[in-house]
Symmetry: D2
Subunit: 345 residues, 4 copies
């Protein structure tokens, strides 16, 4: 039984970590922190936990956390995470960090898209926790940088094509759509029900901070520098990301051939599911689960391939992938505690 802490438990990612870890047969939650809600019962913040989770939220103190937890999940905003993670490591915890702070290897890139980095020395050590691509590194990591939601959906969509050099990376266009829980639980006018419901918009066009993270992984896969257009949109749903990825094929392939390639590439991967030809994924069919569902179409008229990927942004895009990384580290089957089927409808 591994003892775990959730640092920053009062957001949507926090409560999702608690939901998933409470169902995990090898993990015990021993500590929850939430600065603004310190002293309050977690179940009073989220009555979904009523009668089942009786932990009280605490202030985040690295020493106190490390005394009670082997692994700390840090679910803090970027820049807040880098204020806590180094201390947690020093105090002896393994850390699975769900912020953006340790995902980019190059501190210059971090500075360009975020700000000055507070602990750049950890960027070499941290491991990007996308097990389907970087599994071997994750196994021995002391600090896992849990991937962003959009980057997860994009990397899994494109890995088979880039790894097999089937597309011209310069032609990549990525059009993504995310549910609103991705914006967090902060009180902002733009996240109000009446602003999001019956609404739909693009945001962060040509400037979203997940762009360099996406490019870092795609560059690894392609073996050469990749630059993409990445356009996120805000969907009026609670959960779910769908990414529609376009690229020009280096030479003609049928949809059927490409699907075979995807199936081969992801053979044995529990969480990646390839839709049969003629079927396309829907965010509704992964809700609450750690699955990434993929659909592929080759368009012979234009010579492009279109890959559609869907995940639950709070699960495979955040808390679920974090638990999957914990399982990798602990040498457990990766779907331990993550086997529940999606909730439909």
């Amino acid at each position: 039984m591994v003892k775990v802490a959730v640092v920053g438990a009062s957001g949507y990612t926090g409560v999702e970590l608690v939901r998933l870890l409470a169902a995990h047969p090898e993990a015990e939650i021993t500590c929850l922190t939430a600065r603004q809600n310190a002293g309050q019962a977690m179940a009073s913040l989220f009555p979904s936990l009523l009668d089942r989770i009786d932990l009280i939220c605490e202030e985040a103190d690295a020493g106190a956390i490390a005394e009670r937890a082997d692994i700390a999940f840090t679910a803090l905003p970027h820049q807040a995470a880098m204020g806590v993670v180094p201390d947690l490591l020093k105090a002896g915890c393994r850390v699975i960090d769900l912020s953006a702070d340790y995902r980019l290897r190059d501190p210059e890139v971090y500075r360009a898209w975020y700000s000055e980095h507070g602990s750049p020395e950890l960027l070499n050590e941290s491991v990007y926790g996308l097990p389907e691509i970087y599994r071997d590194s994750v196994k021995k990591a002391r600090l896992v940088a849990n991937p962003g939601c959009y980057p997860t959906s994009v990397a899994l969509a494109l890995a088979p094509l880039l790894a097999n050099e089937l597309i011209d990376p310069a032609t990549l266009v990525i059009d993504s759509k995310s549910g609103t829980s991705g914006a967090g639980r902060a009180a902002k006018v733009g996240s109000l029900f009446c602003e999001v419901n019956e609404a739909f918009k693009a945001y962060g066009v040509a400037s979203h901070r997940h762009t360099p993270e996406i490019e870092q992984t795609l560059t690894d896969l392609a073996g050469s520098q990749v630059r993409v257009n990445f356009t996120p949109h805000l969907l009026p749903v609670n959960r779910g990301i769908l990414s529609t990825c376009y690229a020009t094929l280096r030479r003609e392939h049928s949809t059927s051939d490409l699907l075979d390639l995807f199936r081969t590439h992801y053979r044995g991967e529990y969480f990646v599911r390839i839709h049969p030809q003629g079927s396309l994924p829907d965010v509704a069919y992964v809700r609450g689960s750690n699955f990434c569902d993929l659909g592929v179409v080759a368009d012979s008229r234009t010579g492009r391939v279109i890959v559609v990927s869907v995940i639950d942004n709070l699960v495979k895009g955040a808390a679920g992938q974090a638990v999957q990384n914990m399982n990798v580290i602990l040498g457990l089957p990766e779907h331990t505690g993550l086997g529940a089927l999606p909730v439909f409808p």
Copy 2:
């Protein structure tokens, strides 16, 4: 390991039974039937099951089902159920029927609200499967009539008040609101997205078929004939029922006293959660779970008590309660396979 069949698997209740039974450590799904989709893979009807459920939907044949299953869950429309249930019983299955066909004890009442009953002799034998009220009878039942969604939410809200004779039953007003999955997966204009989204209406006012079912249980609890106004409304959400119940108190009680009474009444009930004073339940906080959350307020200005109850209509209102009934029958802890926390947000 008990072998189970889901008869009528292609509706929302069917797929929810599959989701819950797949997570049940003591149950194995051996047979799925769906008349209109016979021959099709269940996972092609519901891609949420992709790669994890490989059963093919069959025609419903009682003998064939009984060969492979100890317990059959029948998730058919009322009147269709009574065409299959007697044969399943004869063939040796225990049956947990999720239709309305075996809930009303009096065939005259069934005739008045539905139509002529096809197997009235089973009405004496069938047990109304609301474990929190009729647990002892369920334990030895061969045929369980799984309660309706609205009646479950109402009976659990009012049981402590009626059993303790705190309210005048003649003053009961029940105002219920249900998510749209309660209307099923049939293609009807009234269930279209554009008709339900951004919409809200009452329906079946003074005439909904759950009225006699509600009255039957409340009459049991009160010990004398109860008649209620029951008004359902259609909510633009997938899942969830909220019932707001009003009654005049026989004598004054504080909210705090009433909450104590509720807590005492439901002590030891895993699935009934009482909100603390000042907090009221929300359907969002039971989503995907078998919980029934209750909130209570006494209004000294008018002498009434207001009880608010919420359930997930597909879980405690259908598939989850059916699995709970199976657990009762098998002598398992009632939350076996039903322990997952609600999915919020």
Copy 3:
């Protein structure tokens, strides 16, 4: 052409006033104020107005407003309104106030449910602006207290029954459900998309501030003191209120007779529409319009009548009724500028 100002233009009621007044053939908007957004173009706050409304939001200064406007619509929070309305009156404006500040005639009641009143001397002068009930008083009002959204839906539902003494007021139970725009545009966690979407809850049970306002009008109609249970709920839709009202009939009436009575009572009222027998109103069918649709059912089993009323909370429940009041004051046909049909779907 009457010149009008909207004081407090940056909320949902404010932008709705601008939408309706822009379509009004006899009104010209000359001034918009919004304290926190002073200096910003109204169309930058609400791009729905792009290219068509070029007014800049100003600080609210009574003198400056009165120089440019004959009528001021004040769309401020309660207690903020009473800080501006007396000055506007003094400066010579007629005022149609959409806050709660001038609706309750008795300052003691205001104190009990809100706080100390700042200008109690105006409570005698102010006229409760529900034209279908208080039209004659509105005609000559200098200060109109525009009714609350819930009270409007309830008063119109019950007026024919109370005015004709058909029900026992002591048995009244009012169960209301409101779209989320009623909560305003303030950034609050409880109004976030992920908290409201796929959610539903009661709030303010036995304590909502619209209760005394409802009781004041029902008391006027009944001719004797009325106390009600009023329970509001939060609907996951942008716009719309539905109130389900229950009362015991003094003697038996058929649905058909009651509908005749409603039709007679509301003959000539442009904005009140009575559904034919067997049909019930839906908030979707009044969206964007000033209509109040009513449905009536008598339940002979319980001796109660159920009235269902729907309005668009931002129109008949706020901005539309305010414009209707302006039309009454100006002697215009009441539907001037309010004739657009509801937007469905």
Copy 4:
């Protein structure tokens, strides 16, 4: 006063035509047809029209329609329209057809994407009714082919770029998202609330029938054959289309320069609104209106331009554009009857 008929009034486009035409000062609706609902009051199909529209739906008979109407709006499914339109023309009506039947000039293309055409001789005569591009032809048209919703959003987004030869058409990628009213009011499982709500998917990838219509207009604008990837997605909103269009710029341009170009191109167009730099359109801000809002961003990192366009699919994407075409034909200001501001929220 022009007399108009709506042929096929029982769908979402039909009721929207009625809503808009009822508000039109120069049009009088004299005839509504709806085959399956012949004999029923339009207001009983759509209670939004209660008390205000008293027309009864009739069978569609060309002669009877032409006797009462100068202009017929045909809102029928493709292939049904071509069974009625020739007769209406023969009987002397001008026809504004909202189906796809007369949009494609080349009957071979129609055959390839739809089926054999029944009246190919009319394809030469019919005018594609996108006034911002083909206004002069519309003025004298006897048969207007009202554009598809997706093609309208795409053509208006790309016209300034193609007309000024700023982009390489071979690089065009069009990612569109539509509200569910675009799927019509037919009872289909895929359009049910529980299938669309909290869901999001792509459909018709590389095969949607609007592709050749899009390409026809873009080819006109570019002056050479254009082929595009067009991917539609289904949004859980009632109304609204957002198209995100990507293309490689022939040479570098700043966002600011491109916005100037767009403003110049659309100078004087009432219904096209260009968002200022840094602001992007949202479907919520055009709801219920005939506006097309555009946002433009140049991405110097990749050399691409991204144009985001939004319309209300039932208004500028269907009924509103049809009324605009009528205004063009009648020589009225184009916004006659179409001046209402968007309904937000």
